[in-house]
Amino acid sequence: MFRSAAPAPGRSGRLLAAASALTTPLLPEDFLTLFDPLWSTTSLRGRVVARRRETGRAVSVTIEPGRAWAGHRAGQYVGVGIDVDGVRHRRSYSLSSPEGARYLTVTVQEVPGGVVSTKLVRDLPIGTVVDLEQADGGFTLPDPPPAGLLFVTAGSGITPVMSMLRTLDAGAAPMPDTVLVHSARTPEDTIFAAELAGLAARHPGLRVVQRHSGVTGRLDPASLDAAVPDRADRTVYACGPDGLLDALTDAWDDVVVERFTPPARASEGTGGTVEFGTGTVEVQPGQSLLEAGESAGRIMPSGCRMGICFGCVLPLREGRVRDLRTGQAHGEPGDLVQTCVNSACGPASIDLP
């Protein structure tokens, strides 16, 4: 369950409360959403209004959010819930649209075998209603932005940086001294290739270096230092595969990173029978508590699904759990457990909201 949208304020809120005496046990919105699904006051929803193909395996999906959408800061991600084969799936995607845009845009690259990305890229009709969560995430620029910037991105890692560049582009202030080194497999596979070239042509402060790993190999700290000699004077923002981000944080200090994949697993865990609320769920070795609960049809709170946002925490009532990132068994009754990166280690009991 995503966090609720803000309650309707003021007079309309009081009106809805009074109307709920007429709709009990349902809410007024359960009838109002017959007319427009976006009129929900308890859950934030959006409607797909446009799709644009960016590359052979990436599309930008533009979504009209409901009134409760609070906007986003460039670089943040948004939680999106869509139905695939009748089952609601939730994922987080970095927003590529600039701050202040009326509609929000996520740019999604198809992950082989990925249930949600495949649906989003190949088969999401205009008009589809999706669940949304308010934007979140700390991969954002300070205000005002640093005087010298280096963005290092690979693959779909360009999306949050695209939101930053589009925001800087639309702002009144001149673009700060910025270098973007972006790597994709091939020129055809480069998301936003033309728009990046256009931005660089318009802004003297912006230098864009496009690399193609299929030709020149993957990015690494040494080649980046060679390409950007004044790298040490710049604030570095990096988004891309784990290998690249780990290499950068090992080699350089103070790199701001955004990860798209859960960190590597140190352990598959042992699995176990976990009581979720009123029933029990069999957690397989290597499966997170979140995945196990969801596949058993439970409504689980969720967020980034990679151990960052703490949107999925639930209180442990009994037993212990195993952190898939470290392999450590841990947990005391009452502890808040991140269900997305913890698996079972034997029987345990977890409270559902």
Partner: protein, 394 residues
């Protein structure tokens, strides 16, 4: 224990004080038949333990297939029913505002009655069973659904999903056997109170939602000291809150909104609630208590296997014949047998698997009880009348 063997060899009816001691060693592999009706069903359960487990595996296979198939079309089905139900409710209530005109009153009341029946039967009952939990839609989920009925979803999920579906037709365990006020089984001891059986049933059908809410209280358990009064008080408060909201909505808020047409709206809402009560009472009683459906005693639950559980669900339930609209209006409880075998499969699939279940029953010589609503209901009424009297012989 030689006495036990002796009695069973002589085959005479055991005296009252020896009954339990004698019955134990005589039990066949599967004894699903209460003593008083043993002759009726003995033939149908003459299955070996292997056959019963094989039947269980074949029923499991049907379940697994539906689980693998369910998807977008099932999700579309329940969302469509919910949308239409809400549209009917809006339309019905709107027409009732013009209820001084008799055609508008009749149409509005009919629409609201159908909406309430759909909400309770096809939507509420089935959503609360978790039939749609797999969609992971927080709005259509057993953990969050609240229905248009004075019984609260939490209490209902306990007494219905747990007690009734686990202990189906087990006299003394399944509180749907008589709802704590009727005598529906020869196994229930007769008292002069039961002379009122037909009257109680009539009242129960009129006020069925209140009967359901109160039967969650399990008052007789409290009297027996098995349940604390504090728990009852907690339930009474919960029922009271829910009832208050329901009563306020149907009998005060909507009539008041209609201003001068207060009375037609009040009468329409009252009629719709009573129509829903009578209908759901009839459907539910026909699901378990016409002739053919079997009741069980508590001893038969001991060490029950998966296959035996299936057979008990099969024999304890009865289907109703009818068309698609009829099945929809019963919340697919017209497929009571399939529902009891697979309470958490999406209801729109019961019609599809019913022929397979029926064929399996024929193959294994198990009775598959099915009939039109009115004949089944007459049988239920017959049973209720018969059991108003002490011996209750047929």
């Amino acid at each position: 224990m030689t006495a036990t063997l002796d009695t069973s060899v002589t085959g005479r009816e055991p005296g009252p004080d020896e009954t339990t001691a004698v019955r134990q060693p005589q039990r066949p592999v599967l004894e699903l038949v209460p003593s008083s009706r043993r002759e009726d069903v003995q033939a149908t359960t003459r299955l070996t333990a292997e056959q019963i487990e094989e039947l269980g595996r074949r029923l499991d296979a049907i379940r697994d297939r539906i689980l693998a198939e369910r998807g977008a079309s099932d999700a579309a089905y329940i969302r469509d029913v919910i949308r239409k139900q809400r549209a009917l409710e809006i339309g019905g209530r709107a027409l009732l505002f013009a209820g001084v005109l008799p055609p508008a009153w009749i149409a509005g009341t009919a629409m609201l009655s159908i909406a309430k029946i759909l909400e309770n039967m096809e939507i509420g009952h089935n959503v609360m069973h978790g039939q749609w939990d797999w969609m992971r839609d927080p709005k259509i989920h057993s953990s969050s659904w609240e229905w248009d009925n004075v019984s609260s979803s939490t209490e209902w999920k306990h007494s219905h999903n747990y007690l009734h579906h686990t202990y189906t037709n087990v006299v003394g365990k399944d509180r749907d056997v008589g709802y704590g006020i009727l005598r529906l089984s020869e196994e229930q001891r007769w008292t002069p109170y039961h002379l009122g059986n037909p009257l109680y049933n009539f009242l129960l059908s009129l006020f069925f939602e209140y009967g359901v809410a109160l039967h969650d209280l399990e008052v007789e358990k409290v009297l027996a000291g098995q349940k604390p009064w504090s728990r009852v008080w907690q339930q009474v408060k919960s029922i009271g809150r829910k009832t208050g909201r329901q009563v306020f909505k149907d009998y005060l808020a909507f009539p008041a909104l209609a201003g001068p047409f207060f009375l037609p709206v009040l009468a329409g809402n009252l009629t719709a609630n009573v129509v829903r009560n009578i209908w759901s009472h009839a459907v539910i009683f026909c699901g378990h208590f016409p002739a053919g459906a079997v009741q069980f005693s508590e001893e038969q639950l001991a060490d029950e296997s998966r296959g035996e559980w299936y057979v008990r669900q099969l024999l304890g339930s009865a289907n109703l014949d009818g068309g698609r609209f009829f099945h929809l209006m019963t919340g697919q409880l017209s497929f009571q047998i399939e529902h009891h075998l697979f309470p958490d499969l999406p209801s729109n699939r019961y019609a599809e698997i019913a022929p397979e279940v029926r064929a399996l029953c024929e193959e294994y010589g198990l009775e598959y009880t099915s009939g039109p609503l009115w004949t089944q209901y007459l049988q239920v009424l017959g049973t209720i009348n018969r059991l108003a009297l002490p011996n209750g012989k047929r």
